[in-house]
Symmetry: C2
Subunit: 180 residues, 2 copies
Amino acid sequence: METTEPDANVTRIMLAVNESSIKGYPHASISSRGAFEWTIQKIVRSNTSGFKLLFLHVQAPHEDGFEDMDSIYAFPEDFKTMKHRDQTRGLHLLEYFVTRCHEIGVACEAWIKEGDPKEVICREAKRMQPDLLVVGNRGLGPFQRVIAGTVSEFCVKHAECPVVSIKRRPGETPQDPVDD
Amino acid sequence: METTEPDANVTRIMLAVNESSIKGYPHASISSRGAFEWTIQKIVRSNTSGFKLLFLHVQAPHEDGFEDMDSIYAFPEDFKTMKHRDQTRGLHLLEYFVTRCHEIGVACEAWIKEGDPKEVICREAKRMQPDLLVVGNRGLGPFQRVIAGTVSEFCVKHAECPVVSIKRRPGETPQDPVDD
């Protein structure tokens, strides 16, 4: 088959990341970290200049009218100037991934949007047109899924770009498997 | 997160490939070629030594008792010794992909199994434990899917490894979109 589109300079991989439901402070969820580590170890590998990672964190709407932040975070220093109020809203989550990317040497961007995670992830994937969307999932059974819902299933079905869903490793499942 | 498993030497990507339903002779389907090109352009990129591609072609059972071939094809020369009877059964399909891999310089293996494609792909993914399974899909609408069924949806749902389904590009859709 002929290559019908020009070879882009880098492969852009979008990762939807979220906070852990276990710890009080906004750490990355087990699934998010698993999806990130899989992307680095299995896809990026040593070819750090061939990829760019796009981290999206979707916040549930806040009563006090918190609005979308259009800021894009690409360097660890970008987080030093953030306001305290933003710190409590998941920017530490993005700082974790941006710092890891800089340690590894892979380019990245990170941003936050507000809304229903599954809808916003698909909307942002449509806007950003990544080559691949990576989402973590808790690997719940059918009964737990009915209760907990899964963002990953929705994205696999509705996102316009290729999507891969990375299951949490069984050994990493917390006491309550709905937690993450 | 700590890396809990040793960094494997290569990322093993399994591609389920099938024959075109359009042409008389066993060429690769449009979806299969699209899934392959996406894997090379977006994932492997220039890092050819970091990946190994595993091509599985599943044949529908034949009346004359054709059995699983346990042969593995890894080099273009491997196809020179094949019997004529095998040529008509999709080995040319594998030869296409193995030859392309050798042109590109990425290691590969290819093999054929008999049975129901969706079941066999998931069984072989379980046996081979690839890091990623790539399947092509025709990008059919909901109504066409009910009639045509889709192997990719089944694999996304049932395979134990991460799965990415690569939609056929709209410009490549044949006259009858159920064809491929």
